[in-house]
Amino acid sequence: MVCQQCHKRKANVHYTQIINGKKVEMYLCTQCAAEDGAMSFNPQLSLVNMLWGFPGFGDSAGYAQFKQPEILRCNVCGMAFDDFRKGGKLGCASCYSVFRDNLIPILRRLHGSAEHTGEMPERTPDVKKADEGGQPAEAVGLSDKIDRLKAELSSAIESENYERAAELRDRIRSLESSGNVNGGAV
């Protein structure tokens, strides 16, 4: 597709703007987008920004859009997702659960995968054995995770973000069935 502004260069920025509830979509080349101020270029390209910057990345409409970064904050260490976007470093182990949905695309881009297949600590119960016997520590961690997801789900429904709500619902279902929480009575 050719840039809708200069009609010369290849459009590589899909730019969506919502003004007074009206959606305006533009396909621009990088130069026009920059000149237009459609995108605010961050001169200090951090790793995360670069990863996020791939067109068609995740389900974002274009370069400059992020999934609700302003309200995402880790409740354990206080790290905001925005801090991570700037510095590329997380604050604690819980950040990985809190920012999970935003991190998964980044991990895929970095590693081509978001699933660990390597060694596990000996103390960690094997996933496959989870339903053979009680794993209290695991179950608590899992139900915490599910509770958190459920809270996210209600806020997604409140903000009418149904696509995300559907994602969360599926995640919760899969976690509930895999983890056999509450003795399987889900």
């Binding site: 590693h111 995968s113 660990h116 390597g118």
Partner: protein
């Protein structure tokens, strides 16, 4: 061409050293980005205790080095020996390195992650390095409890290290590939398959003396064994290309080849002032000459040692004083003349 008797074992012709490092964090503490001074000190104490009484490591004797109480020169020396990272050497409070006396094991505490465990072996011995590092990691995990998530694996401060937390790297000496420019193709190929190529001192450092560090970038979604095998495989292939190219270069023009090597040896033997960079470049030629069987009388290990001895911090430690760059160049030239004139012919 090379003498059978002196043929180096373990792929020493091309591979200088093999390293494996694991990034780990204690689950009970926030990452270094969010931890307090006090928490940093607690982590230090726990790691120190865990390492110093590890039954599985009884064969190793460790030194405990607090960065803040080391002189800048001593910290620099550890960097030159590849025992700590340049970033770690900045000497912030709450950082310490626990290093085995033989330098095989090095644990940086409170670098980017709470722990960076490193095992280093000479030549092409990546699997040995992984075995030691892996068992060190699981022993410490039992005592310290590392942050781990079933789907993400070991959790690290930066998502580039998550999962296995492993970085497997091999240092390769690639004079023929560099000389001919074929190295460019090698670098490009490596980039495409997710393998990083760096210089002698890791990130952002230049490939001085034709030394290249080949390491994995992907840490998630592959097993440790797959990562080790992948890096072993690619370094093996690069080494084979390098060796073939060395022979081909010699075959095409033996006089030119020998001329280059003897000129470099001549310079090293005669110079009165020499920079670290120039020495590394010339030593690279001498190393090549030794492996091709053109030069005799010195072991590769001695040459490796010399490569380290001419580094700024090492040199200043040897001469026991702070030297200005000019004085360093003079001492360096002296040292090289002494080492090479005695032995090599």
């Amino acid at each position: 061409m090379s003498k059978e008797g002196s043929r180096p074992a373990l792929g020493h012709e091309v591979a200088i050293s093999s390293r494996v490092r694991l990034a780990r964090n204690l689950e009970a503490y926030p990452f270094t980005t969010r931890m307090s001074r006090l928490q940093g000190a607690e982590i230090l104490e726990k790691v120190r205790e865990a390492l110093l009484d590890d039954a599985g490591l009884s064969g190793y004797e460790f030194s405990y080095l607090e960065m803040q109480s080391l002189k800048p020169l001593d910290r620099q020396l550890l960097v030159e020996k590849h025992l700590i990272s340049p970033e770690f050497a900045e000497g912030n409070a709450g950082r310490a390195a626990i290093i085995s006396k033989d330098g095989r094991i090095s644990v940086m505490v409170n670098e980017e992650d709470h722990l960076r465990l490193q095992c280093i072996y000479s030549g092409m011995q990546l699997e040995e390095a992984w075995k030691l590092c892996g068992s060190l990691g699981s022993n410490l995990d039992k005592k310290l409890g590392f942050a781990f998530d079933k789907s993400y694996g070991y959790l690290t401060c930066c998502p580039t290290n998550i999962g296995t937390g492993i970085r497997a790297s091999v240092m390769l000496h690639l004079p023929a590939l560099s000389m001919t420019g074929y190295i460019k193709g090698v670098l490009e190929t490596c980039g495409k398959i997710g393998v990083a190529v760096r210089g002698l001192y890791g990130e952002n450092s230049e490939a001085e003396g034709n030394m290249f560090q080949i390491s994995n970038q992907v840490t998630l979604g592959q097993t440790e064994e797959e990562i080790i095998a992948g890096i072993s495989n690619i370094t093996q292939q690069i080494s084979e290309q390098e060796k073939m190219l060395r022979i081909e270069l010699y075959r095409q023009n033996p006089v030119r080849f020998e001329d280059k090597i003897y000129r470099s040896l001549g310079l090293l033997r005669s110079a009165r002032l020499i920079t670290s960079e120039e020495s590394l470049k010339l030593i690279s030629d001498v190393r090549l000459g030794m492996i091709m069987g053109l030069l005799q009388g010195m072991e590769l290990e001695d040459l490796n040692e010399l490569t380290l001895m001419i580094r700024p911090a090492y040199l200043q430690k040897t001469y026991g004083e702070q030297l200005k760059p000019d004085e360093r160049d003079q001492k360096r030239a002296e040292l090289i003349r002494k080492k090479l004139n005695e032995r090599i012919h």
